[in-house]
């Protein structure tokens, strides 16, 4: 059983554990809500306590999946595990850590928070700081910690390079150049093809009820949505920084970007990248497990079509696959997946870093299978490459 007597203390430590080991985003508000929730429910029912805490503390599907494991580990495991947790979290703040001390006073919670700060400060890994301090502490790590039972070396985690203004400008240009044509809805506009009676009448109130100023409706342009699928196999390791830089620039240029990495499994990393591109360059802890290893491109792409196709693929979607096309899976799987993506998207861009290699021909089985369905086949190795891509981007006819 857990090491401390009172429920409030345990709750505080449990929350700290969730933040530290499972990457939950829990602030003082959530903690308070959790306490209030426990006040309402029947405490004698383990099921109820579990459900209540999960409702309050988990924020995403991933959180929900991790929660039960964390709950069992903290509340139900043997005495030893509980004490270890406690020992880690109860470490007293060191005198030198004055800055954190003041912060935690402002947050107004118990010593567990300080202990966690120290962990983060001394070890320099991607531990969470409470949300309240994240904005102020520019040098702190804003990213989300990940649960790494296998003790993944943090140096394995890819670093997200910062996209400077030139990159962002190039990415904006790319977004701007995707001409999707007008949408079907009508929107108020200064000049348009359709007369807007409602707004004309509204405007006529200013002129004593005489409709002197006509108002118009026009069809707004459709905005593209980007889905970037990055191959994270070992053969792509060299190219990873560039791929992440492109994505980082794109994330800053438009909000409509979804990012996935795949090697032998597919992982959605949109949130992680958004958080990373807000801060300064730092590692994507959550990616460390996806990064490295061989690739089954076909299986991963068909997993994408199955899991996200309905929601993310439409004629306004530009799918960008970043991969060298060295597939260890079956060609038929790859073919049907790429065909499905191609059929349901506005454009399918394939960025292959090997294209820069002199004499490279896309003859490897994987690449030659996918190539007929690709609308733009190129590589982006530098800023000029991204500019070139925006000029060469083709949509499906």
């Amino acid at each position: 059983m857990y090491a401390f007597g009172g429920l409030p203390e345990n709750l505080v430590i449990f929350c700290a554990l969730l933040r530290r080991d499972y990457g939950f985003r829990i602030g003082a508000g959530e903690l308070l809500d959790a306490a209030r929730a426990l006040n309402i429910i029947d405490l004698s029912s383990q099921q109820a306590v579990r459900a209540a805490l999960r409702t309050v503390l988990a924020g995403t599907h991933d959180d929900v999946m991790a929660f039960d494991k964390a709950f069992d580990r903290f509340f139900l495991s043997g005495a030893l595990a509980g004490k270890q947790d406690a020992a880690v979290l109860e470490r007293k703040p060191e005198p030198g850590a004055g800055e954190e001390g003041t912060v935690s006073k402002r947050v107004g919670t118990s010593g567990a928070f300080d202990a966690e700060f120290d962990e983060g400060a001394t070890e320099g890994t991607g531990l969470m700081t409470p949300l309240e301090t994240a904005a102020e502490d520019a040098s702190g790590v804003i990213g989300r910690a990940s649960y790494s039972p296998a003790g993944v070396d943090s140096t394995q985690a890819p670093e997200v390079p910062e996209a400077d203004d030139e990159w962002v400008a190039a990415a904006r240009e790319l977004v701007r150049r995707v001409h999707l044509g007008p949408a079907r809805k009508w929107r108020a506009a200064r000049k348009g093809r359709r007369f807007d009676l409602r707004r004309t009448l509204r405007a006529s109130l200013q002129t004593g009820g005489e409709p002197l100023m006509p108002r118009w409706l026009a069809r707004p342009h459709r905005h593209p949505r980007f889905v970037v699928l990055i191959d994270a196999s070992r053969s792509m390791n060299q190219y990873a920084p560039t791929a992440l830089r492109v994505v980082s620039a794109l994330t800053r240029a438009t909000a409509r970007v979804e990012v996935f990495v795949f090697s032998t499994a597919l992982r959605r990393v949109t949130i992680e990248l958004q958080r990373a591109s807000l801060g300064t360059s730092h590692r994507l802890q959550a990616l460390s497990r996806a990064w490295g290893g061989g690739t089954t491109i076909g299986a991963c792409l068909s997993e994408f079509v199955r899991g996200y196709g309905d929601r993310l693929l439409s004629s306004t979607t530009v799918v960008i696959v970043v991969s060298d096309g060295l597939d260890v899976g079956e060609a038929e799987t790859l073919r049907s997946a790429v065909q499905a993506i191609s059929r349901r998207s506005g454009a399918l861009v394939w960025l292959n870093p090997l294209l820069e290699t002199p004499g490279y021909e896309p003859t490897a089985l994987g690449m030659s299978t996918a190539k007929p369905f690709v609308t733009t086949f190129t590589s982006v190795n530098d800023l000029a490459g991204l500019v070139r891509l925006s000029r060469n981007l083709r949509l499906h006819a």
Partner: protein, 315 residues
């Protein structure tokens, strides 16, 4: 209202929920926070709000989100033609400009949209914000403001404060990731597919005439189908449709022939039929059929989509 009561009340309305679901609702009601429900399509996310409104004996106000949804459609709009008419008519009266303005911009000419309606309702309504992921990010930010303050400022009228806080249910199909800010404002519930036992209970609750054997067979096949890599996995709604179709065909049990006849109720993408055919043996064993009957009965999905043989009762 405690979790057990919620379960019982939902059960009375033929909606089967498990304990963690009921606890989440209980907490959302007690803490007066919005409940964000995510999960696969067809597990009853929207239905939750409808039943909750019935249970609480209050109104359900629904805001269906879509791309391009903006504040005027969600909050309020002035009734311009009506105002116009009024302005014209009041010209003959000897009213001052201020009086006429006050008349035109009064609540009579205000068209309340769902959010404003929810705020001005006397008894706390259930406000369902459906498929919030379909709306733009800008709308999400606007929604945050309303959810935090529960007040709306109309320049011509002033600030309208909520007389009673609405109970908010937000659903999302995860078309895009919602912002952390919105997530932090809400309690979160992940609604997965029901377990086999739950699904049987749901089938019985919704279709009282369904035979025990058919219900358990349907649930078992559904469980198997959801395990396959389908493009559109069938939800609870599909189970119910299917059960209804089979009852209409006067089937008291499920075999491969019945599946072939009615597969259109369950699988709605052509490619999925191929996947199901490839796993016919698994499906047959889920139904409790033997290998022999599988061979004799056959699984003629490609020849027969069901249209030719389905007979509907004629009145």
């Amino acid at each position: 209202m405690d979790a057990a009561t919620i379960r019982a009340r939902f059960r009375d309305r033929a909606f089967v929920v498990d304990e963690s679901f009921a606890t989440a609702l209980q907490i959302a009601l007690a803490l007066e926070k919005p409940l964000l429900i995510e999960g696969p399509a067809g597990v009853g996310k929207t239905e939750t709000a409808k039943v909750l409104a019935e249970v609480l004996e209050t109104r359900l106000i629904r805001l269906q989100c879509y791309e391009g949804l903006d504040a005027t459609t969600a909050l309020y709009e002035w009734n311009y033609p009506h105002q116009m008419l009024r302005a014209r008519l009041s010209e003959i009266e000897n009213a001052t400009l201020e009086e006429r303005e006050a008349q035109i911009f009064s609540e009579r000419f205000l068209l309340k949209r769902p959010l404003l309606e929810a705020i001005t309702e006397k008894q706390s309504p259930v406000l369902l914000i459906d498929e919030v992921d379909r709306a733009d990010e800008a709308f999400e930010a606007f929604l945050l403001e309303v959810l935090a303050e529960w007040q709306v400022t109309i320049p011509e009228l002033g600030t309208i404060r909520a007389t009673s806080k609405p109970r908010v249910i937000i659903t999302s199909n995860r078309t895009r990731e919602l912002s952390d800010a919105l997530r932090r404002r809400c309690l979160f519930l992940w609604l997965p597919y029901p377990t086999t036992e739950q699904e049987i209970a749901i089938l019985h609750a919704r279709l009282p005439g369904l035979s025990e054997r058919l219900a358990s067979q349907i649930a078992a096949v559904m469980q198997t189908l959801r395990g396959l890599s389908l493009q559109k996995a069938p939800g609870v709604a599909e189970s119910l449709d299917w059960a209804m179709a089979l009852m209409n065909l006067h089937r008291d049990h499920l075999d491969m022939r019945a599946l072939a006849q009615t597969v259109g109720c369950v699988l709605k993408v052509h490619e999925d039929h191929g996947v199901a055919r490839a796993h016919a043996a698994d499906l047959a064993s889920a139904m409790g059929e033997t290998q022999a009957s599988l061979q004799s009965g056959g699984y003629g999905l490609d020849t027969d989509f069901g249209f030719g043989t389905v007979s509907t009762p004629r009145h």
